[in-house]
Each structure stands twice: as structure tokens, then as C-alpha cells.
């Protein structure tokens, strides 16, 4: 695990990832605190903190006596959040590194265009 972020945040992000890529559908049951703890080999209190963070955010909700479920609209909510964070998390570090090695924003834009064009290359 990445040591830089608090563990409970990393747990929450992993669950979010599963919701984003569709491996846990909306209204489906999310992994329980104990399942997360045993799988990631972390203290259940830490796992619970991650799960609670997702409940507060509206991504998960609790059905009494059954467990945690993915809220309707959770995927859309997460996509919106990720798009908002995109500039901060990816574009700014990219531009900072570009500046260090003497590339301007236009050079970066060119690279992205050629890179994006090259990605779906023929096998």
C-alpha cells in the first residue's frame, strides 16, 4: 500500500475504484468492514473508518442487519468527483515536471495529442 495516504483513505479509494469500474454495481452489497480488514490485513477499526467515509459521502448506505450497499447514483457521484480532481492530481504535476525539463504547455499539449493518437494503435 502507498504509505503516503492514511490507510482508511486508501481502503475507501479501493472500494470507489470497484464501483467506478463496475465490479460492484449500484444497489449491490459492498464488502463488509471485516472482509476488508482481513483481505487488506488491517485493523477492522481502520477499515470501518474508510467505510464510514463512503457512507458520509453518500457512496454507500447501510441496511440494518444486512450490511453496506452501493447507493443509487454513486458511480455518477464518483465520476464527477474524479473529473473535478483531475487537474489537481494529474495536470498540475505534469506541467510542473514539463517546466523542469524545459517543455511549455503547448509542447505538452502536442505530446498529449500524439500520445492519444498513438494509443489505439493497430496491434
Amino acid at each position: 500500500m502507498d504509505e503516503g495516504k492514511p490507510l482508511f483513505v486508501q481502503i475507501a479509494e479501493q472500494v470507489e475504484e470497484s464501483i467506478l469500474d463496475g465490479s460492484i454495481a449500484e444497489e449491490a452489497q459492498a464488502p463488509s468492514t471485516n472482509e476488508l480488514a482481513v483481505f487488506h490485513r488491517i485493523n477492522p477499526a481502520t477499515a470501518a473508518k474508510g467505510v464510514n467515509m463512503l457512507v458520509d459521502k453518500g457512496v454507500l448506505y447501510k441496511r440494518r442487519g444486512i450490511g453496506m450497499f452501493v447507493s443509487p447514483g454513486a458511480r455518477e457521484l464518483l465520476l464527477k468527483e474524479r473529473r473535478n480532481d483531475f487537474a489537481l492530481r494529474y495536470v498540475q504535476p505534469l506541467l510542473a515536471e514539463a517546466q523542469r525539463i524545459g517543455l511549455g504547455p503547448d509542447d505538452v499539449a502536442d505530446l498529449i495529442r500524439t500520445g492519444a493518437g498513438a494509443t489505439p494503435a493497430q496491434p
Binding site: 504509505e3 490507510l7 490485513r41 488491517i42 485493523n43
Partner: protein, 306 residues
């Protein structure tokens, strides 16, 4: 806070050595504690006194609200897995487990059998002839299968190889998740247990140096690496706990976590941040303390900046 153990002003003195020096702390119900510290810091003494296997010189200990000494009501709810547990000369593991089954009211025989299988404990060999690892495994089985409300593990991993230690950690976590209870685990293998524990109790030279949630402890300190002059500017006015240099590159560990804006400003000067693991933090804090003890106060101030 719902605490199962309260310790107030506890002091333990042996002839000319002070093992515990006026310590006070609480142990919360149903949490896993890491009892950390160097050899001779006072960990085993603290565990022995909490389980009434040793008497305090002064101060007060309450377990489930009562004095534990010669108190069967309290002691049947505790399990202490000693690092150097003594058994009768002709005892074998089968005898040890049979005795434990009689003593611990919440003993789970099914769990014990699974664990005996996991650790491949030879049941009929006398305990004297077991390897160090097998002896530790006997203690681990008793500690886990007892399901005692408060379980003390004093360096339970001695002689266990990496695979056996992982079995212990996995079994501990799985059983704790199903049957929450209070666990105190003393360990030198801080990296191995840092994700398992909820709270850290760090003892150094008979005193409590840290009593924090593991989560908070991880964000107590920050490491910054870069050009020596830029690092010096960045850590100016902060409490530095460790510093090392290689040529013009300096790495400094300081207490606290800078705000996002400060981090961005430092990153713009080419400084890199690295998190400080629980193990690194504890090594630095105890080093700083022992350096401080060996010097006069004025020198130790300077020493901490070096």
C-alpha cells in the same frame, strides 16, 4: 471512553533500576494495542503487573475496575502469553492445551485444533524438546483460542519464521474481527504489526513516550529530502528529530505535517516529501530521547538538530 484497564502513577523499582517510572495510561475495550519500545524499556514489567504476576512498587492498577492481584474474578478474563513461559518438565503441548481449556471460560477447542494444525505443533513431544518457534506457537495457540477479554502477547513471534508469523497475524485479525476483544501485543517488528494495531503505546526507559491512535502516529512526522540549503529553509522553526546528508542532499525528519499550501511551496523548490513509517518514527523518537539523556539540556537541543 470505555476502558478495561486503568493505570495511575505506576512505578516499579528493582534494587537499583527503575523499570516503570510514574506511568499512567488507559487501555480501551476491544482495541488492538501495540506495546512498543526497546529491550528493557519496561514492556514485560508492565504486562506482568497488569496480569498480577508482579507487584507495583507504587501506584494503582485497575483491571475491569478491580485490583487484579489474587483476584480470580479478574484473572480468569485475562490471558498472558509470556515470552519465556515455564511449563512442568514432563509436560507436552497436549497437557498445556488441556490445562488452558480448563482455565479459560471462553476457550474455543475448534479454533485451537485448527491452529495446532496451522503451526504443525507436535502434541506429544515434551515442551522442553520443542524448538523456540514451536514453543512460541504453543503460546500463540493458547492466546488466540482462549478468546480472553484481554489478551497479552509478549513478543509472541520469537523463533517463528515469516510464514508462521503471517499465519499468526492473519488468524489474530480474522478471529478479532469475529470476536472483538482487547489485545496488547508487544513487538519489535513494528513494520509487521503497524497495520494490525489500532493504538500505539510506546514505552522508553520506563516512561510512556507515545499514546496515540496508529493512524495519528503515522502523520506525526514528515520527511523532506533535497538541496541542503532549501531543506534548511523549509524546516526552519520546526522540531527536527533526525537529519542525514549525502553531499549536498539532505534528508530531514521533523515533527508535524505541513499544510497543503506549504507542501506545494516546498515542492516548487525541488524538495521531495516522504511519509515516515511508524517504525522510522519510533526509532527516531527513541534515539532522540536516549541522545537527550546522555547530554546536558543545552547540548541535547543542538544534538536534535544535527
Amino acid at each position: 471512553m470505555n476502558s478495561v484497564i486503568q493505570v495511575r502513577n505506576l512505578t516499579k523499582r528493582y534494587k537499583d533500576a527503575v523499570a516503570l517510572d510514574d506511568v499512567s495510561f488507559d487501555i480501551e475495550k476491544d482495541a488492538i494495542y501495540g506495546l512498543l519500545g526497546r529491550n528493557g524499556a519496561g514492556k514485560t514489567t508492565a504486562m506482568s503487573i497488569l496480569t498480577a504476576q508482579n507487584l507495583p512498587t507504587s501506584g494503582e492498577v485497575r483491571v475491569f475496575g478491580e485490583n487484579p492481584y489474587e483476584n480470580a474474578r479478574v484473572l480468569s478474563r485475562l490471558c498472558f502469553v509470556r515470552e519465556s513461559q515455564k511449563y512442568p518438565d514432563d509436560a507436552n503441548p497436549r497437557h498445556a492445551f488441556a490445562a488452558a481449556r480448563l482455565f479459560f471460560p471462553r476457550w474455543d477447542q475448534g479454533l485451537a485444533e485448527e491452529l495446532i494444525d496451522d503451526f504443525q505443533i507436535p502434541l506429544k513431544r515434551t515442551i522442553k524438546k520443542l524448538s523456540r518457534g514451536q514453543l512460541s506457537a504453543v503460546g500463540v495457540v493458547i492466546g488466540l483460542a482462549s478468546r480472553a477479554e484481554v489478551t497479552f502477547f509478549d513478543e509472541p513471534y520469537l523463533g517463528l519464521d515469516a510464514v508462521a508469523r503471517q499465519i499468526f497475524y492473519d488468524r489474530l485479525l480474522a478471529d478479532y474481527a469475529e470476536f472483538p476483544r482487547t489485545i496488547l501485543l508487544s513487538s519489535h517488528l513494528i513494520d509487521e504489526v503497524s497495520n494490525l494495531i489500532e493504538r500505539v503505546l510506546l514505552i522508553d526507559a520506563g516512561r510512556i513516550l507515545m499514546d496515540e491512535s496508529a493512524e495519528d502516529a503515522r502523520s506525526l512526522a514528515t520527511n523532506v529530502v533535497g538541496d541542503a540549503a532549501a531543506v534548511d529553509r523549509a524546516v526552519n522553526g520546526r522540531e527536527v528529530i533526525h537529519r542525514e546528508s549525502l553531499g549536498r542532499v539532505t534528508s530531514v525528519t521533523f515533527l508535524g505535517r505541513p499544510e497543503a499550501s506549504e507542501r506545494a511551496a516546498m515542492a516548487a523548490q525541488g524538495l521531495e516529501f516522504a511519509p515516515v513509517s511508524l517504525q522510522q518514527l519510533i526509532v527516531r523518537l527513541t534515539q532522540q530521547r536516549s541522545a537527550g539523556r546522555d547530554r546536558s539540556p543545552a547540548e541535547s537541543q543542538e544534538g536534535s538538530l544535527r
